[in-house]
Amino acid sequence: MKKPGLRIMILKFFNRHENLRAFGILSPCIFWIGVFFLLPLVFMGVYSFLEKGLYGGVRWIFTWENYTRFMDPLYLKILLRTFRLSLITTLILLIVGYPMAYRIARAGKRWRNILLFLVVLPFWTSDLIRTYAWMLILRDTGLLNGLLQVLHITGKPLTMLYTEGAILLGLTYVYLPFMVLPLYASIEKLDSSLLEAAEDLGATPFWRFLKVTVPLTKSGILAGSLLVFIPSVGVFVVSDLLGGAKAMMIGNLVQLQFGPARNWPFGSAASFILMAIVLIAIFMYLKFAGGREALEEVR
């Protein structure tokens, strides 16, 4: 009798061990995450407790130093600024993105596709290039200042580049689609007869929005906020180009430590602190916003 091939053997194995099937299907994904995400994370975790070597690299001596060093007001200030800017970015995008998503979701079918296409269009170029474009617009001799002066609105150039305002502008610009798309998805599913019912029961447009529209699109609001907040906290291109050294964010700090400063242990520690705080923040946000249960009920 011919020996069964490998394929048959694999099939047989999974037929007999049903509970292992899921692993079989997910194995490429598990491998990928394991090698390219978990493993580096473990390295960083280990590095964050080591001393830095003289010329980069690490010395295998255990220390808490990297974490205690972060308690310096200088770094805490960067951390605080990072969260403040990310929070403001998320809020601005909610305020800007919600009406936008709402209008797109309620537009006719043809317009809806065109508008969605326009929302995604900026992805066609790298956000590095788009951020550079903002530098050209915002700098002292840039387009905006030129225009203001030509129109005699201002006498001399306003300082717009390398401010927190510039970072906010860049962040809201770059992350707008991440807010609009999940909001769109949840608003589009909203049953318009529920809005009519609310109005019928005496709700003014504002009350209706508060009591029906927002609760029923909560999943989109939560998803959009997280999709914007998390990458904003870790951003470094936007803050590097538009914020410069005066408005450094934690992403820049990490990049600095792994790059020019050659202090991998401290960079690792900063990353871990950031990660821990983000996880706690998300957890609290979902808990506070009643995420899980509320969403379950809506379904």
């Binding site: 019912a197 109005e199 019928d200 029961l201 003014t204 509320a294 009920e297």
Partner: protein, 363 residues
Amino acid sequence: MDVSVELRGVTKRFDDIIAVNNMSLEIARGEFFSLLGPSGCGKTTTLRLVAGFEAPTAGEILINNQDVSDKRPYERNVNTVFQNYALFPHLTVVGNIRFGLERKKVAKHQMGDLIDEALDLVRLQGMADRYPHQLSGGQQQRVALARALILRPEVLLLDEPLGALDLKLRKEMQLELKTLQEKIGITFIYVTHDQEEALTMSDRIAVIEQGVLAQAGTPEEIYEFPRTRFVADFIGVSNFFSGKVTRQDETSLHINTDGGLRVILTADDRNRENQSVHFSIRPEKFMVEPETGRSDWENRFPGFIKNRIYLGDSIHYVISLSDKETITVFLKNRSSGQRQAIFSQGDKVYVSWLREDAIILKD
């Protein structure tokens, strides 16, 4: 008449479609009024115009003698029970019922009483903390009803509220709705495409054809005296005849039908001499005799049974009167003493009717 809702020449146009065309209606306070018609006839649009979800292109809508044509739904003392109930999925039964109350200035303790009362009214005690998706269709329907009724509207609008329920539940709810309406005395405007439902529940019915009011009246009026062919056809079953008036005197019209029957009908006040005329007769109005029958009824014609459907309590016959005229006749299955009333396919019979049972139609 104490008018609750009035439509004055209301027209609603969507782009190039006229959904409601110059409709005028008066609905009395406390009346159970049905808008009846096939789907797409404009009955739901009419309801939405009264609710305020649509603004009329022309004409006025008055509620309680006040022009509300330009008022938003939340400014009108009108509430709606939606076809799909439109319950808020994120709110419990109580949350749904309380929704409208929160906008009215009702004291806290009073609110609790009102909600209990509303739950009582629709028999949903014990369901207060359920979410809509945990309720059956009938229960959801009752929540929608309670949510609207708790606001004590001048008018309650119902858009095919029983459409999604199964037949048995629908029958139950029809009775329940009717009883409820009589108990609370609020004007109901009820949209349905189910003629039987409309006949069962309504004080008056408006039959709508392609955005135009075809006829409004009590169920009896609509059934016994349909004004147009559409009404006669849509409500119940009708047999239609056309012919020409050969002679007209003070009391009778003599008509030669297209199939060659010489028919005598009651004359109305119009001069129809030499004009063509259409009339209809309900299937249960005919008398049928066997070939050997010797009655001297007028409008008596020979025919033969083409087909019969035995339904137990009644029998439906399809009878051919001429090569152009085939009628449907419903006969009660009477006591055995009159068994001769049961015929078989192919039997020759005499069919007759009283002249007042034929209704002359407008078109």
